[in-house]
């Protein structure tokens, strides 16, 4: 008798919880096919017209160069991964910033160190499930939203085929 009551209670709680949880849609692909190269305005704003993205990068300049105006008139490379994170980097950057979208804000998820001397001519490619950072002299670094991926071999075949 006790077992039956317990089972009924569990079922009721499960149904109740399921009906209270928010609607969730799966298998969403946020990935941009190609990175955007955007120029920072004098107001420290960048605008990506195709995807309707606009943001202030003064905080990013302070974080990378300790100068909120350091990025004015500079070019930044922005790419959105399949998961929906924004990857941002540029010339002289020593990091790739991974930002997570929130309500009218982008919050840093991680700051991935990619070099000691700053990048020369970086580019970002989307190679699901990774983002690939390219630079001069054959630099090719596989990234996920947290860090550099040390051994992406197993995942690579699929991404490289896109080229």
């Amino acid at each position: 008798m006790y077992t039956i009551i317990r089972a009924a209670l569990i079922c009721a709680i499960t149904v109740l919880l399921a009906s209270c949880s928010p609607l969730t849609l799966n298998n969403v692909d946020f990935g941009w096919p190609v990175e955007s190269v955007v120029t920072v305005g004098n107001d420290n704003m960048i605008q990506e017209r195709r995807y309707g993205l606009a943001l202030n990068v003064a905080g990013l300049a302070t974080e990378e160069f300790a100068d909120s105006n350091a990025l004015k008139r500079a070019s930044l490379r922005v790419l959105r991964s399949q998961e929906g994170y924004y990857y941002i980097t540029g010339r002289q950057f020593k990091h790739v910033y991974v930002l997570k979208p929130g309500a009218a804000e982008l919050v840093a998820k991680s700051k991935i160190k990619v070099g000691e001397h700053g990048l020369h001519n970086p580019a970002l490619n989307l190679r699901p499930p990774h983002v690939v950072l390219l630079d001069e002299n054959g630099v090719r670094v596989y990234l996920d939203s947290d860090d550099v991926v040390k051994n992406p071999r197993g995942e690579l075949a699929k991404g490289e085929n896109n080229e």
Binding site: P33, V34, E35, A123, L134, N162
Partner: protein, 410 residues
């Protein structure tokens, strides 16, 4: 010039190869270099001056397609809302359209030169027609040349107009103001309205300065109506194009026109309409005048006429009067009507715009009743034919009967 082009080509190829080498790395560079090459080819297509230049461009479009075909899937995604295939097809379409346009320009140039040459010949022929020093046969030859020249000129001119209008389709209301402006420029450059005007006014001069025979009129009437019909199909379109041009012109000059009232010059279309009316008037006038002269030359006085209706009335009245005088009736029916009117003027008079076939036939029957009934040698031929046919039939039947008779008896 060629060496500069070769050097530029090498530089371009080198730049392209280095770009592609780098583009193999960055998706962004792949997309950008493709777009750059696309824009460059588009510019070359628009800048092409002769049709053969586009053959080289077509080759480069195929090269571009081959270079990027391995990245088609990526480019389809990256170039959204367009796709790799769409952009390549677009380049090919532009190339074809521009090629057709350039071929049309080349054709326009050729036709314009040919028309100019014919116009010069026509002026000389008109001068020859004016001089009376030539013999009648030489003048007739000149008239034939003149007539052939005018008609060749017209054919070329209407071919020229068709060539100009061809890229714009039949319905000009669907064509934007900008393209109408371009079309107007082309029409003006080729001097279309003034050329049509010149041809029509040359026809008027031709009618004024030439002594025509009755047999010349049928083709002249057809000629006028064909020209008028062609112009009818064109004037609305040309008028629409010129109206667009005038509107644009007025907007630019509105401030200058605020003072003074300049006399309004007729539009090119109105000028052509006016000279066509003159042509028709001259044709009608000379036709009925020359026809009346046929009667007076033979000493036959008929009531004056100036159109089909009054001519028919005049002939009917004269037939009624001539019935009382046998000699006059015979002269009218044979010497005038049969030998001149029916022989030389019949083709022109039976035109629908004149008496028409029915109108002419009724007059012809009426007039022929006046004359003595003549023996027609064709009746003998028909009679002989009938006799031979009946004889042959009778002989054939008889022969069959003879061959069947012995068998039947047996």
């Amino acid at each position: 010039m060629n060496s500069i082009r070769n050097i530029l080509g090498l530089c371009l190829t080198f730049a392209m190869l280095t770009t592609i080498a780098r583009a193999q790395e960055s998706d962004y560079e792949v997309k950008s270099s493709f777009e750059e090459r696309y824009r460059e080819l588009k510019t070359r297509i628009h800048a092409a001056g002769i049709a053969t230049e586009l053959e080289v461009v077509d080759g480069d479009i195929s090269t571009l397609e081959m270079q990027y075909i391995t990245r088609q899937q990526f480019l389809d995604w990256a170039l959204y809302p367009q796709s790799f295939t769409e952009l390549i097809d677009e380049l090919r379409l532009w190339s074809v359209v521009t090629h057709d346009k350039l071929v049309a320009f080349e054709k326009i140039g050729f036709l314009t030169a040919r028309i100019d040459s014919l116009s010069d010949d026509r002026s000389k022929l008109l001068t020859e027609l004016k001089s009376s020093s030539k013999s009648v046969s030489a003048l007739n030859q000149t008239i034939r040349q003149m007539s052939a020249n005018i008609q060749a000129n017209e054919r070329l001119l209407f071919a020229l107009i068709d060539t100009i209008f061809l890229p714009y389709g039949k319905d000009l209301s669907q064509v934007g103001e900008l393209r109408k402006g371009a079309l107007s420029g082309k029409l003006q450059k080729a001097g279309v309205a003034s050329r049509i005007y010149d041809i029509a006014s040359d026809n008027v001069r031709f009618l004024k300065e030439t002594n025509l025979r009755g047999s010349d009129y049928a083709s002249l009437i057809d000629h006028y109506h064909q020209f008028n019909q062609k112009w009818g199909g064109l004037n609305e379109r040309i008028s629409e194009v010129y109206t667009t041009k005038d509107r644009a012109g007025r907007q630019g000059k509105s401030t200058r026109r605020q003072t003074g009232k300049a006399a309004k010059a007729p539009s090119p279309v109105e000028a052509v309409d006016s000279v066509l009316a003159q042509w028709q008037g001259m044709l009608t006038q000379t036709f009925w005048r020359d026809l009346a002269n046929e009667f007076s030359r033979e000493g036959v006085t008929v009531k004056p006429f100036s159109d089909a209706e009054s001519f028919a009335g005049s002939i009917r009245e004269h037939v009624q009067l001539a019935k009382a005088n046998e000699q006059e009736a015979s002269k009218f029916a044979n010497d005038v009507w049969r030998d001149h009117i029916d022989k030389e003027w019949r083709d022109a008079l039976t035109k629908e715009t004149m008496l028409g076939m029915d109108g002419y036939t009724s007059l012809d029957v009426l007039v022929k009743e006046l004359g003595p009934r003549r023996f027609d040698p064709m009746f003998v031929v028909y009679g002989l034919l009938a006799v031979v046919t009946v004889g042959a039939g009778w002989w054939f039947v008889r022969r069959n009967m003879r061959t069947q008779a012995p068998g039947a008896a047996a």
